[in-house]
Symmetry: C2
Subunit: 247 residues, 2 copies
DNA sequence: GAATTACGTCAATGGTGTTGACATAAGATG
DNA sequence: CATCTTATGTCAACACCATTGACGTAATTC
């Protein structure tokens, strides 16, 4: 886990709503131990939240449960983060950093883009609830710059013109992010809801009358299996295949 | 808006939890007017919910607010939908139905899939806030059946084997839905937030030091324009191009 | 050692989904 | 028309949620 970079939280939208967390960031803080003895900080809270999500599932991320996990009053969190959304963005920031740790683009641009896509997706799936929010949001932070630099650089090295490199990087990254967010929001569903969705392919779709749905009838035996896994890698390969042919 | 077909709600998961909605569907229902005089039905509730979300945003979709909008007690909704998730699926399916109105697949399977993709995306963009919550779900309802039937049928007609038809339909529809949901959630952001995001984006990228980000420096003049529009059609064409080559 | 104030705690507010009990009108049956 | 059944609208209540304002105290500063 990378140490989360301290960026000004003030430059985000709605500066007017900053009531509690208004201090100049980077100042030394008073470290007053909580009742149970732990000492809070932004990093401690973010790390604990990530662990909480990983251990108990995304729905466990509530201020109450996080407070309990930290051994402090739930509202103490509001001394460090404006609201839960602010906390989620901080978690997302740490997640992006985690995703890119150890990644180095290689000489094979197709393979490198493929790995970049898979890494982003894995990171998102590891923290689905964060992903669901972060994907629609534009973070525009340091780690995203790194990703853009790597992706555009790979496409340039492949021989694409600057215009096309930008254009296809956009297609690439949006498709990866969109799929990752979709999978993440699916895996963020309550387990019984997800199970019901899965079962529907074998149950509901198997009972559809063949006269009304001939195509579904034809592929019936393959439906459950075909709809079960993730189409991510297939999608990635389809896209990269077309890209390689267009260079 | 199409009339939503009434399918058995009982064949869904967890039959044990079906405490309230257990009647045999299709029977004539007693239409007892509410206090305010309106007569409830599944369609009335769904339509009202769609309007509510479109007008007040996705967070307005609560049983209490929906009850207020309908002019009935909030808990009356539970006579028609098992829980809010059940209601959400009905809303999603009504959205699918709206996007399919007037659509007929033609002999050219690539062009037909292309139009199907564009239609789904347009429908989602028309109701971005519904899209954001519904994209990852399997609705298990009539309009979704129709969409699956058409998509799989097109791929079969293209010459794909049943196994591949299912597999590539999944890739196709997930990619379309994922992109549509991403665009939808972006366009669902508050205008000032979106504008601020865009502005900060071009500004930040323009100030990045070229020594640290050489690729970004190379494509700098094309960045704003390349990142401005939607990559949806590019993505669609890339995907269909690869599909056509694999048949 | 006094002053300041960051921050942990507590109490409270108003929101959420959901359930069980109850009343009553709609439709069925005679 | 009268009676019965029951679908369904209403109400009260529960347990959870995020968030805020007041308050005391300990950590830092001077």
């Amino acid at each position: 886990m990378e140490r989360r970079e301290v960026v000004n939280r003030e430059d985000r939208a709605d500066p007017g709503e900053a009531k509690r967390v208004d201090r100049v960031v980077g100042e030394r803080r008073r470290r007053r131990p909580t009742k149970s003895g732990t000492v809070l900080s932004e990093d401690v809270i973010v790390d604990c939240a990530v662990r909480l999500i990983g251990h108990q599932g995304p729905e466990a991320l509530t201020v109450r449960k996080l407070g309990a996990a930290l051994g402090c009053d739930p509202t103490a969190i509001y001394r460090y983060f404006r609201n839960t959304d602010d906390l989620l963005l901080a978690i997302a920031d740490s997640l992006i950093g985690e995703t890119l740790v150890g990644y180095r683009p290689g000489p094979d641009w197709v393979a490198s883009l493929r790995e970049l896509g898979l890494r982003v997706r894995d990171g998102y799936l590891r923290h689905p609830r964060v992903a669901a929010i972060a994907a629609s949001r534009v973070t525009r932070r340091h780690n995203e710059f790194r990703a853009v630099e790597m992706g555009v650089g790979l496409l340039l090295s492949a021989g694409f013109s600057p215009v096309d490199a930008v254009r296809y990087y956009r297609v690439f990254i949006d498709t990866v992010l969109a799929h990752a967010a979709l999978e993440a929001s699916y895996s963020a569903l309550a387990p019984e809801v997800r199970a019901a969705d899965d079962r529907s392919w074998t149950e509901t779709y198997n009972t559809l009358p063949e006269t009304d749905y001939p195509a579904i009838g034809t592929v019936r035996v393959h439906l459950a299996e075909g709809m079960a896994g993730s189409p991510f890698e297939d999608m990635l390969d389809l896209m990269l295949e077309s890209l390689a042919r267009r260079v």
